[in-house]
């Protein structure tokens, strides 16, 4: 099937060329980072994780969201989704690969990364995160690819493939739960030390993932003969709606607990993000943009008339993606690390080089996604026509 990725129109190859260029440039910047150390990023002794780790966290969510097409199809027999489970699975593949790259480029000594396998440490959540992510990657590559291949040959996928699919279903929330536990188990970080971390991560993942899939579906419809279908898109939109409402609800629960209990160790982080602390307001606008985007998206998604209007649906999906990205892909780190253990406010912004490297990893993920989607769509068109 791979040959499908090698043929395409001019636009396809232009896109690939652009992505490869960005990847190449960011690769050189990464070499520069290897030579000079992580000093070229905006991170420091207080905000010691930054854009890289927050991208990793966000993308674990995107990866887990494949569940939102796989589960209705295989557990609820929602046949509309049978045509697009592969899109979910391939999105997960690309997202998990990005996750791994983001972890890798964040390491001070990437040459020693295999120490994690050489000295396996079960009491470290990072060890488990690596295990569950690797397994999830394999599950999605194998099931996505095999299902596609068997459908192409017009036979039912064999039992072992179906078994893997059923394993992948609980595995999806598992990866994001373990990722939340990276943060939620740290005693000194009031912003992260909350039992609702994992549920909130899952809720934001399950709205962002379907929102991204909807946007991808519109792009696919414009650029190929494959139409995901209105029913599927509306179903995805409904899933995104409920998840988004859950996400905002969880945020509200979080806010109530910290604001009403008024324990400074928890409160100060939220104050810093929402109203500013000690005269420092750097992240307040972003926080509000995130909250307002999510609220507007809820309104656009919950009213059937709006949801069924293409342009409003696209807007809602876009707002959901940006809103959750600001929340989890940026502020998660700042909120967790600031104020620091001495109560000081430290301002973190990614540097130019850090952003280029980040863009490079994203481009690599998009490249994988484009190639996998090209194959999947070509095969699906072949089956359906």
């Amino acid at each position: 099937m791979f040959e499908k990725a090698l043929v395409g129109n001019k636009k396809y190859f232009t896109l690939i060329a652009i992505l490869l260029t960005i990847i190449l440039i960011s690769f050189f910047v990464y070499i520069y980072q290897l030579k000079n150390g992580l000093i070229i990023t905006g991170m420091g002794r207080d905000v010691s994780w930054g854009l890289y780790i927050s991208q990793f966290t966000y993308l674990v969510g995107v990866a887990a969201a494949a569940l939102m097409v796989v589960l209705p199809c295989y557990l609820h027999n929602y046949k509309q989704f049978a045509r697009i489970t592969v899109l979910g699975e391939f999105m997960a593949v690309s997202a998990v690969i990005m996750c791994m790259l983001f972890i890798f480029i964040d390491l001070g000594r990437p040459d020693r990364v295999l120490n994690v396998l050489l000295h396996p440490t079960p009491n470290s959540v990072m060890f488990w995160d690596m295990v569950v992510l690797s397994v999830y990657l394999l599950l999605n590559i194998v099931t996505g690819w095999m299902v596609l291949q068997y459908e192409r040959n017009e036979v039912k996928p064999p039992l072992w493939v179906r078994t893997l699919i059923y394993i992948a279903i609980p595995w999806a929330p598992l990866i994001h739960t373990v990722t939340a536990f990276l943060y939620a188990g740290l005693p000194g970080r009031g912003y992260w030390l909350t039992a609702i971390m994992a549920p909130r991560f899952l809720a934001s993942a399950f709205c962002a993932g379907p929102a991204l899939l909807i946007l991808l579906a519109f792009i696919i419809k414009r650029t190929s003969k494959f139409d995901v279908g209105n029913d599927s898109i509306q179903m995805l939109a409904k899933i995104a709606t409920y998840a988004l409402i859950a996400n905002v609800f969880f945020l509200f629960c979080e806010l109530f607990t910290v604001l009403y209990s008024q324990i400074p160790e928890h409160l100060d982080h939220f104050k810093f993000l929402i109203i500013g602390l000690e005269g420092q307001f750097q992240y307040v606008p972003l926080t509000w943009v995130s909250i307002i985007f999510m609220l507007v998206a809820i309104i656009l998604l919950i009213v059937p008339k709006y949801r069924k209007t293409k342009v409003l649906l696209i807007t809602a999906c876009f707002l959901t993606l940006v809103g959750t990205w600001i929340d989890k892909g940026l502020l998660l780190m700042v909120g967790g690390f600031v104020p620091n253990p001495f109560g000081e406010i430290i301002i973190y912004w990614p540097t130019f080089f850090e952003s280029i490297i980040t863009m490079g990893v994203w481009s690599f993920g998009v490249l994988i996604l484009v190639i996998l989607y090209k194959i999947a769509i070509a095969v699906r068109c072949e089956i359906e026509l």
Binding site: G44, R45, L107, R109, R112, H119, G188, R189
Partner: protein
């Protein structure tokens, strides 16, 4: 035999793979992972549990500065001026920033409010950094010292996120150009690894006290808290002390006498 044929090569290769994986598997199932008891300190000065008491009523900034300086020179700690990238093993902070839970407008804070006090790794009895390290590059010794294996550290900085005291430093860049005069007795580090105070374990090995204790003019007391006849045990049972963020359950072994 001068030639390894294919069959022999495969035999050796598969046996070595088996050996490596079996070793790792054994490590996975081994319950002693939480505390590595296999590391027997080869030290002249031995203790059940090392601890340190810093007498805030007696210590002053001149003494603290001297301790910091001697420690950093001894351990080849680079002198990076940039506040976000500096490496610190022991340094000073305002009392009110160190003990910053709640708003103590009165009592202790009024006494010490603007006083600078030394801070360093708390050598926790229940260290979160050890719990999170994915490679056991940081681990607790039997005598309570939390140490770093800087040859194993992958630089993921999970320990820095886990430490509630901000006691860990990462080498954001190559530290060597920033060391004024390299002490040949002690290793330097490379960029990309985390480091921190290790209670001068190399000095304990030689039978000497930690350098800051030696330079402290008796304002820092160091000893075995597991020994009821030790000086530190006596002082702690007589005097009032504070420990940083005790409520987090980390059981710090640095005691601030007040």
């Amino acid at each position: 035999m001068d030639k390894i044929d294919r069959r022999l090569f495969l035999k050796i290769a598969s046996l070595s793979i088996l050996g490596v994986t079996a070793g790792s598997l054994l490590e996975v199932v081994n319950p002693k992972d939480f505390k590595d008891n296999s590391i027997e300190p080869l030290t002249k000065l031995k203790a059940k549990r090392w601890a340190m008491a810093i007498d805030l009523t007696a210590i002053n900034e001149a003494i603290i500065n001297n301790c910091i300086n001697k420690c950093h020179v001894t351990h080849n700690v680079p002198n990076l001026r940039d506040k976000q990238h500096e490496v610190k093993w022991i340094w000073q902070e305002k009392y009110s920033a160190v003990f910053n839970e709640g708003d103590n407008d009165f009592n202790l804070t009024t006494l010490y409010k603007n006083k600078n006090i030394p801070v360093l790794c708390n050598q926790c009895d229940n260290p979160p950094c050890v719990r999170v390290c994915p490679t056991k590059a940081t681990f607790s010794r039997d005598d309570g010292i939390v140490v770093m294996d800087m040859h194993r550290c992958i630089g993921c900085r999970f320990c820095m996120a886990a430490c509630p005291y901000g006691s860990r430093s990462f080498n954001w860049t190559d530290p060597r150009p920033y060391i004024d005069k390299i002490n040949e007795e002690y290793p330097t580090r490379e960029k990309g690894v985390v480091e921190k105070c290790d209670f001068c374990m190399e000095r304990l090995d030689r039978g000497e006290l930690p350098i800051c204790v030696e330079e402290s003019k008796n304002t820092i007391i160091f000893g075995d808290i597991g020994n009821k006849n030790s000086e530190i045990y006596n002082i702690l049972s007589r005097r009032t002390f504070l420990r940083r963020k005790e409520h987090l359950g980390t059981r710090p072994q640095i005691f601030y006498l007040i």
